[in-house]
């Protein structure tokens, strides 16, 4: 049992916990978050993904003691009560079916677009390939990513200048 400090979605937490505990169970069972979910426990499906230092990581195979940096979960994507453009695109495209995997889809896409705001279709497929969906909502998820790319480009200052010019 160790004292572990975690910063999640802007809030700090101190927990007395076994350091090898996978982050997923702490987020879900101690911090009551619902975004990251158990899908495989093997780092194969993506249901558990959270963003740490800009990277979407599998929280199901990440020991809590190894976490360095602030954790963002699905709940933490919205800013000032406004959904992230990625989430908004998900609603516009009606992307989920059952929706259980969508945490992984959204978090992976968010990390991708933060790093590369204009991925090609091939890059989208490659970056998303480790994030599974058994309802097969993939086509809509890819459409939602393309929509998010478009809306983010339109709302960014650079795009605004371009329009003026």
């Amino acid at each position: 049992m160790s004292k572990i400090e975690l910063k999640v979605n802007g809030r700090s937490h101190t927990l007395a916990i076994e350091p090898s505990t996978p982050l997923l169970y702490i987020l879900r069972n101690d911090l009551d978050l619902r975004g990251p979910r158990f899908g495989c426990g093997l780092g194969q499906c993506g249901a558990c993904k959270v963003i740490i230092n800009g990277v979407a990581v599998f929280s199901c195979i990440t020991p809590v003691s190894s976490v360095k940096g602030e954790i963002t979960t699905l709940e933490g994507l919205s800013q000032n009560g406004r959904l992230d453009p990625v989430q908004q695109a998900w609603i516009e495209e009606q992307a989920p079916q059952c929706g259980f995997c969508q945490n992984g889809q959204i978090m992976t896409a968010k990390a991708l677009l933060d790093k590369n705001p204009h991925p090609t279709d091939a890059q989208i497929r490659e970056s998303m390939n480790g994030t599974l969906c058994r309802c097969m909502s993939y086509f809509r998820v890819q459409s939602a990513i393309k929509r998010a790319i478009k809306t983010m480009a339109e709302s960014s200052p650079a795009a605004g200048e371009k329009v003026v010019a």
Binding site: R28, R34, F38, Q44, C45, L74, L132, M136, F139
Partner: protein, 788 residues
């Protein structure tokens, strides 16, 4: 309507906390425990929410009050006995019921599938949501409107025929200032109106339902109400329920099929942190710990010893089809015969023969089966995502020997449920352990457990023969299927759920299973169709137990039948679409042309959307590594008809098959929500692609070896076609029929997909592969063998 009991604290908490932040974000309001739509906080708690301690009575489906509650603020809550695993049917129910009741869609909400507060419509399954289950909902809503109009007539002192109703406001036609709302009429009272009909599907009042042109919300692409909370993280899923004092359980499965437990060494886990107990009965073993990760560790670390069965429970997956070929059927064959096929074969000029193999395919839910069971007050409350909560309630009551009215099942959202998933097994296990422990218990299956031990869609071996006459017509046809489906498990059966089997339950006469026939749509004068079921050596305590998997027994016979038609068309050097059209056009004996006309319309629509040009297959056009081809297949599922066209690329060097483009033309009668329907068809089509390219349960002679997402591959982002066209066809002989009903759409588009892909591979390569899935190694071996 008054509250039927005190709301337990945890339910109250769920009702209240769910919608935090959501209103701001999405402009919508939703409440958990299967409740979706717009409703105020006060309403959520004053409606009949959930019963507390006390008997859980069945809501009486003969009462309007069991289906519809009108609130004082002129909103309505619909209580329906179905579940929506994510295909938008909940939104569709609201559209249809809002139309019949004459209330604004956004003033309604819908609660689904919790046994003590919603009537028993079975739950979901069989693509029945709109085709069957929506009808009683509509008739009750229409009756409620009629009753409200009568109340309005009394209140306003004007005959009903002089009243108008719009958005839940009744007004006098000649003087619209004289008005009264539904909420004002009902003011906390009940309808207290009885309906007639001896079963729930026949339930009706005196009012007639509206004709299609009168429906306002029906036919609109209203956004699904469950999507915003799934996207912002606010939805409370069945996996999210937490109760005071709850503990975590994990199963310890037998390491091989039919193994007998000979010992448990509890000392191997006793000192682990959080360890509470090992539970065992017969061959069923589970561990219980305070925390989830502790239970996972303890289940992995528990030392158990098992005795192998004397004989192998099954052949290996490599030997499966030889086994099926030589097995003795479990029961007499089911046979359909038309004309004189034997005579046609004996005098045939050209006979074409082929044999098709479809392996076991898994349900393989995205996440492991799970459930939380609460044994408080000597009762049992089970939280589950299983699509059939009502049979679960009966099954668990029987399994535990508890009175029916001491058990309730609360349905909540979960990972996809496309049939008889292991969600049922987990719920029975949670309930049994909860009663043993006297504490709420959460059971969760691990990945390898789910993939290996969930129910499987049966393997099929299909032999087909046909006679081609001199002018290129198929004049005789013989379909002979053998399905490996003996002891097919039903839904929530207390004697066949896995925990019961492991504890020693044996049914004297296992379920016979079935070997379905393909859609019988072509004018073939002499045909014989035979279905036989065979069993594996092990019937009980085996991970190869079969159960309904999306379109049960549909894709397998259709793969054989629609591949075979393609083979015959190729032998006749005829375009495969023209070949089918000719046989459909000639089919005059079928229900006044209803099926014929719709088949033609759907095939034409698919061909037009695709840009189909008439030519025989094969036609390898690609150069170098990549060969390209197109394939078509079509099928009926119930009254729904679907045509699929696939464009594929086949890599000659690697054997890799990639679908570049898919076109699906689909006719399911009345369309309630076009966008939601497109979404369902799209996902279902891709599920078919996944089963065509990837899915196969592999096993050695003692255990299933497909255990994770690498050993049990599924479709991935990289497999997704660049383009998918969904064409919604209304191929009814009279397309503007005012009473055209909705038919099922949850499964149909999967049915012809395996054949469409196989036919496209043949078109591209000239090589016919009669075994799915079309994995790289299998395709490459077939290409090499054919010198292609």
């Amino acid at each position: 309507m008054s509250t039927s009991g005190t709301i337990p604290k945890q339910i109250e908490e769920m009702l209240v906390t769910h919608r935090r932040g959501f209103l701001k974000n999405a402009g919508l309001l939703a409440v958990s425990i299967g409740m979706f739509g717009a409703i105020s906080e006060a309403d959520a708690q004053s409606s009949n929410a959930a019963a507390g301690p006390g008997r859980y009575h069945d809501p009486d489906f003969h009462q309007i009050d069991s289906w519809i509650v009108i609130h004082e603020n002129n909103t309505a809550t619909f209580y329906v006995g179905t579940t929506d695993p994510g295909q938008g049917t909940g939104t569709c129910f609201r559209q249809l019921m809002s139309d019949e009741l004459d209330i604004a869609f956004d003033k309604t909400t819908c609660i689904m599938g919790s046994t003590d507060i919603t009537v028993d419509q079975v739950g979901s399954g069989g693509s029945n949501a709109l085709e069957r289950n929506s009808w009683p909902m509509r008739r009750v809503a229409a009756e409620a409107r009629r009753v409200l109009l009568e109340m309005g007539s009394q209140r306003l002192g004007v005959p009903v025929d002089q009243l108008a109703v719009h958005d839940a406001v009744i007004s006098v036609k000649t003087d619209p200032s004289k008005r009264v709302t539904y909420g004002e009429l009902i003011t906390g009272k009940k309808f207290n109106v009885s309906l007639t009909g001896n079963n729930i599907n026949r339930i009706t009042g005196r009012a007639r339902t509206k004709s299609n042109p009168e429906l306002k919300y029906t036919g609109q692409s209203i956004q699904r109400d469950d999507i915003p909370p799934k996207v912002d993280g606010s939805l409370k899923w069945a996996v999210d329920v937490k109760l005071p004092g709850m503990v975590h359980a994990r199963n310890v499965k037998p390491p091989f099929a039919c193994a007998k437990l000979t010992g448990i060494d509890e000392s191997s886990v006793k000192r682990l942190p959080g360890f509470i107990k090992v539970l065992s009965k017969g061959n069923y073993v589970a561990v219980v710990c305070e925390r989830e990760e502790q239970a996972i560790r303890a289940a992995r670390q528990l030392k158990t010893t098992w005795k192998k069965p004397a004989t192998s429970p099954f052949p290996s997956s490599e030997d499966l089809f030889n086994y099926i070929r030589s097995a003795t059927p479990a029961a007499a064959a089911e046979t359909v015969e038309v004309g004189n096929p034997d005579a046609a074969f004996s005098g045939a000029a050209k006979i074409i023969e082929a044999e098709y193999e479809i392996p076991f395919q898994g349900h393989t839910a995205f996440a492991g089966a799970h459930s939380l069971a609460d044994p408080s007050n000597g009762q049992m409350t089970v939280y589950t995502n299983d699509m059939k909560s009502y049979s679960m309630r009966r099954g668990i009551a029987s399994f535990l020997g508890m009175p029916h009215d001491s058990v309730r099942v609360i349905w909540m959202m979960g990972p996809q449920g496309f049939g008889r998933s292991a969600a049922e097994d987990a719920a029975f296990e949670a309930a049994w352990i909860a009663r043993e422990m006297g504490r709420p218990v959460r059971m969760q299956w691990m990945r390898e457990e789910e993939t290996a031990w969930d129910t499987k869609g049966p393997a099929f071996l299909v032999k087909m023969r046909g006679v081609l006459d001199s002018d290129g017509s198929l004049i005789a046809y013989h379909f002979h299927a053998r399905s490996c489906d003996y002891n097919h498990v039903g839904y929530n059966e207390p004697d066949t759920v896995l925990i019961a089997q492991l504890m020693g339950s044996r049914r004297a006469r296992p379920a016979a299973g079935s070997a379905a026939m393909p859609s019988d749509m072509y004018a073939i004068p002499n045909r014989k169709m035979v279905g036989e079921v065979v069993g594996l050596p092990a019937v009980w305590e085996t991970p190869l137990r079969t159960g309904n998997l999306r379109d049960p027994n549909g894709p397998q016979p259709t793969f054989a039948a629609e591949s075979f038609i393609d083979e015959v068309a190729a032998a006749a050097k005829t375009d495969p679409l023209d070949f089918r059209m000719k046989m459909i056009n000639a089919r005059k004996d079928d229900d006044s042309g209803f099926r014929r006309a719709r088949s033609i319309a759907v095939l034409k629509a698919a061909a037009e959307a695709y840009g189909w040009d008439s030519r025989p297959s094969p036609n390898p056009t690609g150069k170098g590594e990549i060969l390209t081809g197109r394939g078509i297949a079509y099928a009926f599922r119930g009254h729904t008809v679907v045509a699929q066209i696939a464009d594929v690329e086949v890599n000659r060097q690697t054997g890799h098959v990639r679908a570049k483009r898919l076109v699906c033309a689909h006719d399911c009668g009345l369309v309630v929500n076009p966008e939601s329907l497109r979404h369902t068809i799209e996902c279902c089509t891709l599920h078919g692609l996944s089963r065509a390219l990837h899915e196969e349960v592999r096993f050695d002679t003692e255990k299933v070896t497909s255990q994770d997402w690498f050993s049990s591959p599924t479709l991935r982002h990289a497999d997704i076609p660049e383009r998918i066209d969904i064409v919604l066809v209304n191929g009814d002989p009279n397309p503007n029929r005012p009473d055209l009903p909705p038919y099922g759409a949850g499964e149909a588009s999967l049915k012809p997909m395996l054949a469409a892909i196989g036919n496209a591979i043949y078109d591209a390569t000239g090589v016919r592969i009669r075994r799915v899935p079309f994995r790289d190694d299998r395709v490459l071996a077939a290409l090499k063998a054919a010198g292609a």
